[in-house]
């Protein structure tokens, strides 16, 4: 993973996000370094980037789209664009993950636009399982995760994107700002509104999901 860096959230009009203050990592296993090696034909670098980044693109796409099959297509396309872009990558100019998340989000937006008018039926999203008081922790986690996904799909697209990036991908607001091409203040507003909406949607399910066991 790239080392932690202080970032501001300004972007250029180009497709490549520029996060001021980002410094090239000295770690030869950083995303930055691996991408440079990939561009030189390093197959090991290709494997490591694939292992590290494809799951992240996929997880974000699943949470934003609520459809696993579409998320697979999005993740594959996003990674293909990363491979093709690699020779033009400027080490230290931005985080690789910021670039990848932005491409993934834009692809998700395209998918959502094509399916506009076809609402994501709850049948397409896993239903939360009935929770018994003594359900194993793993099943309980899955139930809560599924319930959260159902609620996420009821948020407006931009709120869902912001909440997923902030609270599930655990990105800092400046990086989210660069990914979504909005101000940091707009990110904070979207996540706050999204969380309030989620809280309301999930408020009635705590007992069913065994929540009160702490």
């Amino acid at each position: 993973m790239d080392g932690s860096e202080q970032m501001s959230g300004h972007t250029t009009g180009s497709s490549d996000p520029v996060v001021t203050g980002a410094l090239p990592s000295d770690d030869p296993e950083s995303d930055d370094a691996l991408l440079v090696r990939f561009a030189k034909g390093d197959r090991v670098a290709a494997h490591r980037l694939n292992t590290r980044l494809t799951p992240r693109a996929f997880a974000v796409a699943v949470r934003v789209l609520g459809d696993r099959a579409e998320a697979e297509d999005v993740a594959q396309e996003a990674m293909l664009r990363l491979w093709r872009m690699a020779p033009n990558w400027e080490p230290g100019a931005a985080r690789v993950t910021t670039w990848l998340y932005r491409v993934t989000m834009n692809l998700c937006i395209d998918v959502r636009r094509r399916s506009r008018g076809r609402s994501v039926g709850l049948d397409e999203v896993p239903e939360p399982e009935d929770g018994a008081r003594d359900v194993p922790a793993q099943l309980q986690d899955k139930s809560r995760a599924d319930a959260l996904q159902v609620a996420l799909m009821q948020l407006p697209d931009r709120q869902r994107q912001a909440v997923v990036l902030r609270h599930l991908e655990e990105l800092a607001n400046p990086e989210i700002s660069a990914i979504m091409e909005i101000s940091v203040e707009a990110v904070e507003s979207l996540t706050a509104r999204g969380k309030r909406a989620l809280a309301a949607l999930l408020a009635g399910q705590h007992a069913e999901l065994g929540y009160n066991d702490g």
């Binding site: 990939f38 034909g41 197959r43 090991v44 290709a46 494997h47 980037l49 694939n50 292992t51 494809t54 799951p55 996929f58 997880a59 699943v62 949470r63 696993r68 998320a71 697979e72 993740a75 594959q76 990674m79 293909l80 491979w83 093709r84 690699a86 020779p87 309980q140 986690d141 899955k142 139930s143 809560r144 995760a145 319930a147 959260l148 996904q149 609270h167 599930l168 655990e170 969380k195 309030r196 909406a197 989620l198 809280a199 309301a200 999930l202 408020a203 705590h206 929540y211």
Partner: protein, 140 residues
């Protein structure tokens, strides 16, 4: 619309559960991404082979495999024998999938290296340069 701090704090349990249950891509997706990477890198190497290194003033090391690919006649015959670019693409996909599975076998599959180590079977790990290369970069 509920906006109590308590209810928003309770969201943390849902977020934590969702992070522990993060959706993971199928092996087929990872294999396809690996195949795409191989195709892209191979296309660069093929493009490099069209450039005469001496005229371009670049060193041989900057054209990986150029000693092989520089002879365009052999390369064209090789490619034709595989069924053209489509066949070459299929071969690249199969190879990449195999390399991927070798690096990261599915969790339900036994680790072949681990089995060899545990069974005490003696294997000449360095019987080929390729094996030595793979083992030298295998993540611990």
């Amino acid at each position: 619309m509920a906006d109590t701090t308590h209810e928003i704090d309770e969201l943390t349990a849902f977020f934590d559960a969702a992070k522990r249950e993060a959706p993971r891509p199928a092996m087929t997706v990872l294999a396809q991404v690996a195949a795409d990477a191989e195709q892209v890198q191979s296309s660069w190497e093929s493009a490099d082979a069209d450039i005469d290194p001496e005229q371009a003033g670049v060193t041989a090391t900057q054209h990986r495999g150029s000693a092989w690919f520089a002879d365009s006649g052999i390369w064209q015959q090789f490619r034709a024998g595989l069924g053209g670019w489509a066949g070459l693409g299929g071969l690249a996909t199969a190879c990449a999938a195999g390399v991927w599975i070798g690096f990261s076998p599915p969790s339900q599959w036994p680790d072949p290296v681990g089995i060899m180590i545990q069974s005490g079977v003696e294997v000449d790990y360095f019987e080929s340069e390729e094996t030595a290369f793979l083992l030298s970069v295998e993540e611990g």
